[in-house]
Symmetry: C2
Subunit: 245 residues, 2 copies
């Protein structure tokens, strides 16, 4: 960590949307301090430092919600926006010309699936616990598994087929590929039975997931204790009753 | 309309997410052909041309859903991505440096509210009609009105307070200001009772809505027959039973 390191703020210990940003920071070897996690490791709260930065009265533009990336005096929020900000600032794939629009388009679609995956366990209100909205969660999960998972996944399969390359934009991995990996891993965690049914038709998506997890820097990250495992506080949650046929 | 005009594809006659793009095209005086609307005016379907372009086998990157902007050979999808694409291509406010990240961050937060507004009438599944999920819709609407509308709206109020300018980025309107106008108008249409309760605390937001609607090109557009009115096929729907206290 250096003085010029980024600071990442995200609810600890949820991988959640923070993990899409972490994968990019790790793959691009950008120094960062995982602030809520560090606070938690030092005996503090993994939540209070996030609440504090949300209220930061000195930020030129306040963020609505984490993940938040602190870059100098600026607080950058919205997952896809953070990814694009980093790509542009560090000349990563997906930062210029039409590729900027393609990468952002795909990232935003990945974030849409992510939001829908969240709503399978919170279809009524984020102010209620899962147990208070379980009936609606069963209904929403059924529709998500039946209609939405195959529709979204076949879409990414079709994009990769048109691309004809190992990754979305070509031979080099871009932030949307890293996020596709995280999305598929999250869906495998939350809905293992359903994913077993749909994955046979997703050869190209599975290949990207394999390629991402084999990138040396990603592989080192996944094997490290910096990688947070999925859990039932996050976006991708495994409730067996929601994964039943 | 010229040969170099953009083509916009969106389900007709829903204003929906297409309207955020139209407002930008109109304010920036960018020639465009509203394809589904034109097809409908010529006696065809306002839906089939959208379905056709979604299946377009020649597009380098297929879109997942409308709105879709055709620019040369490219199909650009995802509302916020289209706005940023146009801003960058035509050097509009919110296209460069940190302002690009600020505008996109705000636009994405506006799109998040928009998605939540949609889910008030479709909390379970987009494959079911509203009438088939009315009980869940009542619950979700209650939470949206009670918690989410004030939380999001006070956030935009706070951003404008920090900005200290007539618009988000300064004296010039950017795409996120245009979209804030559309969002507030949509919420006023869908939940007039609730908006009457929260608007007194939203002086800066209301001022932006006023300023946007008074921009000469926006005012001319709103008075034209190109402007689609809100209706119960769109994202912002008025069901009296969902607006009750």
């Amino acid at each position: 960590m250096t003085d010029s390191a980024y600071e990442l703020y995200y609810w600890h210990p949820l991988p959640g949307r923070g993990e899409f940003v972490r994968l990019l920071l790790e793959q691009a070897v950008l120094p960062y301090r995982d602030v809520a996690r560090a606070a938690h490791a030092e005996g503090g709260s993994g939540v209070d430092v996030v609440l504090d930065i949300l209220k930061d009265a000195n930020a030129p533009v306040p963020p609505f919600a984490p993940p938040i990336l602190k870059s100098g005096e600026h607080l950058i929020a919205q997952t896809a926006n953070i990814c694009q900000f980093l790509a542009r600032k560090h000349d990563l794939p997906g930062s210029e010309d039409i590729e900027a629009a393609i990468a952002l388009q795909l990232q935003l679609t990945i974030m849409d699936v992510t939001a829908e995956a969240h709503d399978t366990h919170h279809p009524v209100s984020v102010a209620l616990r899962y147990e208070e909205q379980r009936d609606a969660a069963r209904e929403r999960s059924a529709a998500f598994k039946q209609d939405r998972i195959p529709k979204f996944m076949r879409y990414f399969e079709r994009v990769l087929e048109r691309s004809g390359h190992p990754f979305f934009l070509g031979d080099e991995v871009c932030y949307a590929d890293l996020s596709l990996f995280q999305l598929v891993e999250g869906l495998r965690y939350a809905f293992p039975n359903r994913m077993k049914e749909v994955e046979p038709d997703l050869g190209r998506v599975r290949a990207v997931v394999e390629r991402v997890s084999s990138l040396p820097r990603v592989a080192a990250y996944l094997a490290s204790d910096r990688r947070l495992s999925f859990n039932e506080h996050g976006i991708f949650r495994h409730y067996p009753e929601l994964d039943e046929a």
